[in-house]
């Protein structure tokens, strides 16, 4: 999406994964990615030696908007467009995006929560939940 305003109308300025003390300054059309809660999925886990454990990892994709104060565009419109573009980008290619190059069983989008301008920023947190399966005793081995 960065630099591709033909396919995606929202011209994203940067995508960040923060360090311990968030090492970025908020800017307009910015994406911040963090990991959220990880849950086990017993119905997709398998017995064996070692057993395989299925895990659902939540990712928080925060869409930051800081349009000019003089802008007459409705913030909701900008946010809807931004969210749609991000979703479209993640879901490409349509047939296999949910496996993330064969590393995941599937992926789904969770709740999208808007945050408002308490800190002068508007945006939304899109949740993406990726489910994958690994050795119980070695999470780096895909099953």
């Amino acid at each position: 999406m960065v630099g591709d305003s033909t396919t995606y109308p929202t011209d994203v300025q940067e995508v960040k994964r923060p360090t311990r003390f968030a090492n970025y300054t908020p800017i307009d059309r910015q994406i911040i990615i963090t990991q959220g809660v990880q849950n086990e999925v017993p119905e997709l886990s398998c017995p064996g030696n070692p057993p395989a454990v299925a895990l659902a990892q939540q990712f928080n994709i925060r869409l930051v908007l800081m349009p000019s104060e003089r802008s007459q565009d409705a913030i909701d419109t900008l946010l809807n467009q931004f969210g749609s573009d991000v979703r479209k980008c993640i879901c490409t290619p349509a047939s296999s995006w949910h496996t993330f190059d064969g590393n995941a069983l599937f992926a789904t989008f969770g709740t999208k929560i808007n945050f408002t301008s308490d800190g002068g920023i508007d945006g939304a947190n899109m949740q993406l939940i990726v489910t994958y399966r690994v050795d119980e005793d070695d999470p780096t081995v895909r099953r």
Partner: protein, 115 residues
């Protein structure tokens, strides 16, 4: 000169004096222009972001004269893109930080929140 005038003048000559409280910073406007000004920078650590409870970030409060030449004029400020160039910690190289809130202002001074 009235007391009102004196207070406004003090904002530039006392508070914004680098020999007293202030330090040199750069005001970057959304339109690409910038200028060097003097302002008082208060550095606070570890603000939990209102939009992301799992993230903390440094917070800066910048007190600058309300003046389009020697500070920042309240009617030119744009909270959608204007930034301040300042040292996150004293002695470190300057970085650009977005102005996210106008905390308060009067005819003499602006108090800006930067992250």
């Amino acid at each position: 000169m009235t007391l009102h005038d004196t207070i406004i003048e003090d904002a530039k000559k006392v508070f914004a004096n680098p020999q007293d409280f202030a330090e040199p910073i750069v005001y970057y406007k959304r339109n690409g222009r910038s200028r060097k000004i003097n302002a008082v920078v208060e550095r606070e650590d570890s603000l939990q972001l209102p939009e992301a409870s799992d993230l903390v970030t440094p917070l800066f409060r910048v007190r600058a004269p309300n003046d389009e030449a020697e500070g920042i004029a309240s009617d030119e400020l744009d909270l959608g893109g204007d930034q301040i160039g300042l040292s996150p910690r004293v002695g470190e190289p300057a970085e650009r930080r977005s102005i996210v809130r106008l905390v308060e202002h009067d005819e003499g001074m602006l108090v800006l929140e930067c992250r």
